[in-house]
Amino acid sequence: MTKNIKISSIVKQKSSRDDLTMRVCMLVIGLFLAIAIILPLYTMFSKSLENKVGDFIGISNYIDYFSTPSLFQSAYNSILISVIGTIIVLLFAFVYAYALTRTQMPFKWFFKIVAVIPLLTPSMLSGISLVYWFGNQGVAKSFLMGESIFGPIGIVMGSVYWVFPHALMIIITALSITDARLYEAAAALRTSKIKTFFMVTIPNCKFGLISAGFVVFTLIFTDFGVPKVIGGSYNVLATDIYKQVIGQQNFQMGAVVAVILLTPAIAAFSVDRFVQRKQVALISASAVPYEPKKSNRLDLAMLIFCSFVAFLIICMIGMAQYAALIEFWPYNLSFTLQNYNFDLVEGGGWGAYFNSIQLSVYTALIGSIVIFFGAYLVEKGRGFSFGRNAFHAVAMIPLAVPGMALGLAYIFFFNNPNNPLSFLYGTMGILVISTITHFYTVSHLTATTALKQMDQEFESVSASLKTPFFRSFQKITVPICMPAILDISVYLFLNAMTTVSAVIFLYSANTRLASVAVLNMDDQGELAMAAAMAMMIAYTCGGVRILYAIGTSNILAKTQKWRSK
């Protein structure tokens, strides 16, 4: 027997053709991500360290920023409204989620549907609606007791409305993963209901609450739509970027504000990642799902609370719909469809609406394919772990980048004549790229979760059966993950339809969008028309949601034979 094998010779596995193909595919998507996120951010960051001529001046722009009281005030304002908004949203969303998951309150289905409504509309819609309710000629102006809706009150109210479903979904998930045995144990030990709530319920979902808190804070902090419409002279960071760049053409200062906007978002993002990792360990495989028991008093109290919240949501969208349908508020309240005649005013008209549809379809189609395939390569590739980890890390970045910062970064990067990709500037292409990138992370995580839930040994079996990876991808992975892929495409579609923050810097005369048109109409004082356009977006998103529900149930029905319950 030969004993001359040197201990030092580490065995390196040869790569199969599949391994190589997968790596090349991953590099291609990785390259896309680098161009779509890393390079633009880098460009923006270096712009913030330059003067107007392009010389490097270190941090003096930042010093300027912090020594200009009016600009510094915006940062304070942003933090203030974000903190207040976050607290309010968390309280409402927690009770609402508790009612949906832990009580036997009737009409849960109705409250679930109503809670989703804000997701179907651009964030500006709540601003417009608030103007009609509480504006100078608002129906409920007296409620504010002399305070103006144009300012922090309006921003907080509008923000709470549109971020509510985001917080709700996270908290519902947190409240759903619990072990009924803990409650049985608490009851067996004769722990009071209230004590059980603080001893079991709250600790169990605390990570969900923290996570929801950070997500909500970031959403409000970086939102542009609501403060633009209802903020009046109350400046926040997101509107500052817009003013610096579009109003004063001060790109360097815009970059500085964008970088500042980025910091809390990154902090929030890091905490959220950390918390999510901790949450996983909380639930064991042997946990028994919690079945809420009937309790007349609690159920009734929850029904009243949820009805109140649902009423507020319906008031918000209802007012926008009403405003879109009447002649001339508040003097002529007869019904008309003329507000839907978008071509009458500047801003893009019906063309903008169809551009938005086009953008959403492209984003949903291309985005879900690219993102899911990318996640597959990361999750199921063999070897090359450095590349796979790097890809995964880059895919996380977009979540921490506010739309305004992304849009501005794209201007710097793609509007540079020396960039060979500058031909994209002003096209539908750049809108699609920015939107896919903006919403990349959540989609990537959805895909990764679905892929992780598949048996880890499918790839091993496929390799032993000599199945080429594209075949098993197409025949096994895609069918199994179809619900997740549909989920991703709908998520991308809805966001492409409603987003305004990144695209506000990137649209051109030929590629105006519906959500941008809402802003422009509002700017021109065409509030009713803005409401009508916002409602067009809402109808479209609602329709897509319904189609999605039908499509999903069809797929599940067709495949129920092999999908185990």
Binding site: I5, I7, S9, I10, V11, K12, Q13, K14, S15, S16, D18, D19, R382, D455, E457, F458, S460, V461, S462, A463, S464, L465, K466, T467, P468, R471, K475, I476, P479, I480, T559, K561, W562, R563, S564
Partner: protein, 361 residues
């Protein structure tokens, strides 16, 4: 059964696998003959699955080489090796019917659809699932899914069949039945097979040879009989079957003291004064033939008696053993005959031919 000069089908040489600082396999060398059924047996974390996955190329070894059928496969990716594999989870493709699952590998061979169909039918007949062929995996029982996985793994007639804890997910009854069935199929297919298991009973009943592993090293290789009756190390003695370990000291050659008593046993060439463990299986302790003077007679009291159906397991102590105790299995008839109950004082013999000794570390 195997001639000594037969060329081994699978040769594993100096295999080491590291996960970061942790060494999962330490310099493993092993030969497996053609058509042999080998079990890797050991507690969880012993490295048995790691070794199997290295052989499959799923997790490549850090050092060392593997050759299969005379060909060096040390660094080949799994798709270029020749094996079929069955996992504990079966990993059946849920969206494909039984037929399509079995056909997957055949379709990749580029043989005609007709031939694929014939081979699938042949395999499904063999595993007795022809009547289930149009169903999806979720509609089958665990045992049936297991057989589909086996048929799929064997479809392309690989030279090596790897079974990773294939029976662990099943309930006890089905498991017993399938043990026999897998063994039968392995014989029919005449395929070299490696099965990983932590269940010693499974290994003892199914394997031609057992590789007992612990902490990333091979403790012993041998046929089931050898492993059970002559465990080479204390670990093997403890892990396979039930074993009493009695602390003892070697007094002189072939005599050791336990408690108050001197036992005759083969002390090999261990020095006098060594601390050892005397190992004897509960079923080898004899309560009947206690008249023979040479057979290590021990005076003992029954401390505890556990009824286990066809036999009783007694815990014995006091008497000559002082505070040492041991377990002994008595058949129901002996229990009746000697009217053994808790508190009974008995004489039992520890036949020296069944005693094995291990140095205490």
């Amino acid at each position: 059964m195997h001639s000594k000069n037969a060329q081994p089908y699978l040769k594993v040489r100096n295999l080491t696998k590291k996960f970061g600082k942790f060494t999962a396999l330490k310099d493993i060398s092993l030969d497996i003959l053609e058509n042999e059924f080998v079990c890797f047996l050991g507690p969880s974390g012993c490295g048995k699955t790691t070794l199997l996955r290295a052989i499959a190329g799923l997790d490549i070894q850090t050092y060392g080489s593997i050759s299969q059928g005379g060909k060096d496969i040390s660094s080949l990716p799994p798709s270029e090796r020749d094996f079929g594999i069955v996992f504990q989870s079966y990993a059946l493709f849920p969206n494909l019917t039984v037929t399509r699952n079995v056909a997957v590998g055949l379709e990749n061979m580029g043989i005609g659809a007709l031939k694929v169909q014939q081979r699938v039918d042949e395999l499904l007949t063999l595993v007795d699932l022809m009547d289930q062929k149009a169903k999806y995996p979720a509609q089958l029982s665990g045992g049936q899914q297991q057989r589909v996985a086996l048929a799929r793994a064997m479809a392309t007639s690989p030279g090596l069949l790897l079974l990773d804890e294939p029976l662990s997910a099943l309930d006890a009854k089905v498991r017993g039945h399938l043990r026999h069935e897998i063994k039968e199929l392995q014989r029919k297919f005449a395929v070299t097979t490696i099965m990983v298991t932590h269940d010693q009973e499974e290994a003892l009943t199914m394997a031609d040879r057992i590789v007992v592993m612990d902490n990333g090293v091979i403790e012993q290789i041998g046929n089931p009989e050898e492993i059970y009756s002559s465990p080479k190390t204390k670990f093997v003695a403890d892990f396979v079957g039930t074993m009493n370990f009695l602390p003892a000291i070697i007094l002189s050659t072939n005599t050791a003291q336990v408690g108050d008593i001197f036992l005759t046993c083969n002390t090999e060439d261990l020095p006098v004064g060594s601390s050892i463990s005397i190992a004897i299986r509960p079923e080898d302790i004899d309560a009947r033939n206690t008249t023979n003077s040479d057979s290590n007679i021990v005076q003992i009291e029954v401390l505890h008696l556990e009824f286990l159906g066809s036999f009783c397991r007694a815990t014995l102590g006091h008497g000559d053993l002082k505070d040492v105790s041991m377990r002994a299995d008595f058949s129901i008839s002996i229990t009746r005959q000697l009217s053994i109950k808790v508190g009974s004082k008995l004489k039992v013999s520890l036949p020296s031919k069944y005693i094995r000794i291990y140095l205490t570390d």
